[in-house]
Symmetry: C2
Subunit: 334 residues, 2 copies
Amino acid sequence: MNIKEFARQIGVSPTTVSSAITGNGRLSPTTREMVRRKMKELGFTPNLNARRLVNGRSYVMALCHVDQEAAADLFTLQVAREIVGPLKSLGFDLWLNLAPDSAQEHALLRQMIKSRTVDGLILVCEQIIPRKFLRELSNNKRWSVVISHVPVEGMPFIGSVVMNLRTGVQEAAQLLVQNGHRRIGFIDSDLRDEVSVLFAEALAELGVKFELRNYITAEGRNVEDGSKALETLMSQHEPPTAVLARTDILAIGALRAARRMGLSVPGDLSVIGHDDLSFLTLAEPGLTTIRIDCTGLAEIATRILSDLLIDPNADLAPGIIDTSLIVRQTVGHV
Amino acid sequence: MNIKEFARQIGVSPTTVSSAITGNGRLSPTTREMVRRKMKELGFTPNLNARRLVNGRSYVMALCHVDQEAAADLFTLQVAREIVGPLKSLGFDLWLNLAPDSAQEHALLRQMIKSRTVDGLILVCEQIIPRKFLRELSNNKRWSVVISHVPVEGMPFIGSVVMNLRTGVQEAAQLLVQNGHRRIGFIDSDLRDEVSVLFAEALAELGVKFELRNYITAEGRNVEDGSKALETLMSQHEPPTAVLARTDILAIGALRAARRMGLSVPGDLSVIGHDDLSFLTLAEPGLTTIRIDCTGLAEIATRILSDLLIDPNADLAPGIIDTSLIVRQTVGHV
DNA sequence: CAAATCAGCGGAAGCGTTTCCGCACGCATG
DNA sequence: CATGCGTGCGGAAACGCTTCCGCTGATTTG
């Protein structure tokens, strides 16, 4: 059943039905209610694809993790679960991009933007997104919200949410130092990572020298990478008594390696993770980790998007969300 | 840029461009290639919403878990990751339904079907889906694939993939019995569950009586539910020496409780999970669990869907995928 | 060599909505 | 009572694509 047939059946014009649905035209409350009631009675649902065409919008936002394998990123998944609700109330469905590899991803996203499969992007990323790509989004008048640790400003149609990684890392550094740790390691797949920089700074402020040899680059972000990294760390002359891992996954790997090596946690070694992936906190022992409040993050991102919808050219201040340490059972004193 | 303008620029008619894109009309290879080349050169991408409207299809399939909180179901998530690729090659994008509660879910799905937001559903479920709901899908001529442990047959537009839970459960029962276990428990949130029935049968065949008191109903499917269930189990007069949990999540809960109670796994207690959730196998100790091959599952589901597209009325045989035991470190001998 | 066939392309209708604009009617105003 | 205005609704165009059908010109066939 289409709007024309439905309108005929209830004895009004298609225009009237449309106005009743969208609330856009001038319509008496009586008529509007009558139409809505009849819609339920007769089970008429407007064809979404037709309104998509005429309105030039798809009512879908895509969520994607732009750095690594998108599908594998549990943090993004966590954000997805939190943001689907708020987005819905803004009138958007969420399209979770599960593209297997990031090689095809940019091409895919471009495609989706140009073909109007989605109205915009919510990008979770650690690295800096090429301005060229953002410019392209902006030029195509697609709304985007970038979630990262640096603001994106002065770009029409693009807003940003900044995760303040510093706060959580500082708390982590404090906890470790308070517990007497002085030889501290860091595990990541990329040492230019913001977290490593902030961690070094935080330790320095506390008077602890963060030695370069304690920076361990993991091959990737998998559990095994974390294990290998810890093994390398511990095989040194004076091994660290504590490590911070860039993600909970790497931390789990480290925990596993520690167990294999006969090290007790937190007795012989303290471990702190990052992201507080709820999927993983299932694991024992409870991992002390740095949490990003995904619920808050989702709300802020949605608010930014909402502002963007009102005025894409307004130069919005980036949203900010702090990180904080969640203390569980993997940190002890030396 | 639209097809009309693009066609004008390259000096052909819109019809020719459309034929070149879809491959549907009669077009000389020369012209077709020329048009495709120009598309890349000028960066023309057809408006998806327009073809959606005219073709009466959305090119989107929804994946959803119909029993419990959809968003929380890690197994469905695992299926999602595997099926997104195959679906793409069938020309469908995947829409992962992350609806927070199942109360609204049926309504939401109906809405999506009627408004043609999606072309069909891939339903992961444990319980039996109401035939009324399936009939509705079928009547709306939307393609669906039901993934469960019972086949759906004789329903146009609906295919099914049956997970053969028996094989995995049998293997699990065998392993436990071979290791001398005789007092064996089962943890689930629903005791009419197929797995519990099959498990009882398998044990009976091996000459082990599956005592009713060892059936423990958990409140839900969360970690804590698993913990509580195990505590209840172990507080009995002659506690079990091994348990099978309906999901890995419950199993993790059981492991945690065991640790709290000072029971060593697998020394004092053996634990077997179900679903082999890759997210969780990160946890130590490696959980012995029953795996459903999600990659195979995804392929089969996609094949069924593909057959359905060719002839929705063909009464397809359900696809079948076996389960099998993955032995890790949580089963020992008494 | 005339007629029939067919490949290759274009014109135009149609998919189901929304929205602009126009029309009729009722009411207040001068 | 005549004019003006605002409210409530309908007609029709437009969104950008696909496909049916018709047209032209080249090739084949008796």
